[in-house]
């Protein structure tokens, strides 16, 4: 009577991700992205320290489409990791663990990060 087609649960390919699970993974992903982004920060400062000619080369690189996408990605990572990090700090005080609270704060943090990123680039 065993059905070999039946997937094991929670099978990631069919499992509907709760928003809280997605954000937990996104927190790590954005953290690792920014760890790699430290190289961009170091390159920016090194080019500035090396003088205007080197700095202009770096600035030109960052003005390309790939450079822009990199910076937009890093800025979203920053805003998301910042907002979700504060969410974690609130959790550290023992608050906000109810399922409806965690779901609400998840959506709030995600929309805040997206909104901040859009607003930031419109302001720059």
């Amino acid at each position: 009577m065993s059905n070999t087609e039946r997937p094991l649960s929670p099978h990631l390919s069919i499992y509907r991700w709760p928003i809280t699970m997605a954000l937990s993974i996104l927190h790590r992903a954005t953290g690792v992205a920014m760890a790699l982004g430290l190289i961009v920060l170091a390159a920016w400062l090194m080019s500035a320290a090396a003088g205007a000619a080197h700095y202009d080369q770096f600035a030109a690189l960052m003005s390309t489409l790939i450079g822009r996408l990199l910076l937009i990605g890093l800025s979203f990572s920053f805003f998301f990791h910042l907002a979700n990090g504060v969410r974690h700090l609130v959790w550290d005080t023992g608050r906000g663990f109810e399922k409806h609270q965690a779901n609400a704060s998840a959506w709030f943090v995600l929309l805040l990060a997206i909104g901040s990123t859009v607003a930031y680039w419109m302001m720059l």
């Binding site: 760890a35 430290l38 170091a42 400062l45 320290a49 974690h88 700090l89 930031y120």
Partner: protein, 129 residues
């Protein structure tokens, strides 16, 4: 951590400091996180109020003592926080004792290199590069 027992050796006393104790790691991660909320927002705000991102403008901004001080504080705190976070990711996902330890050592050296490079560059700009 001193490498006195087999357990200590297993835990990796080669990376010998407070970060190896779970409580120290937990506290350091949160203290740097709180500092980075403020320093990060300062940095984002500073970039947002920069007008043309020319070398002259950026160098002049970094040369201001308050900005140089905050920039150094930011890069050191951020690099340390990053090191702590990447350590957790390696501990969770990189298995096999040798690769695990090699990854931790590589991460430590890479973060140290970033810290040295950014401090050197920022101070050099601050002194008038």
């Amino acid at each position: 951590m001193v490498c006195v027992t087999a357990r200590h050796r297993f835990d990796g006393c080669v990376l010998d400091d407070a970060v190896n104790s779970a409580t120290g790691h937990f506290i350091a991660q949160r203290v740097t996180a709180i500092a980075l909320v403020l320093l990060g927002l300062w940095f984002a705000f500073s970039l947002a109020t920069t007008t043309d991102f020319s070398h002259a403008e950026v160098a002049a901004e970094i040369r201001r003592p308050v900005n140089l001080g905050l920039l150094l504080l930011l890069t050191v705190t951020m690099t340390y926080h990053s090191y702590l976070g990447v350590q957790v990711v390696i501990e969770d996902y990189v298995h096999g004792a040798r690769v695990h330890k090699a990854s931790l050592i590589f991460s430590r050296m890479a973060h140290l290199a970033v810290a040295v490079v950014t401090i050197y560059a920022a101070v050099k700009i601050g002194m008038g590069a």
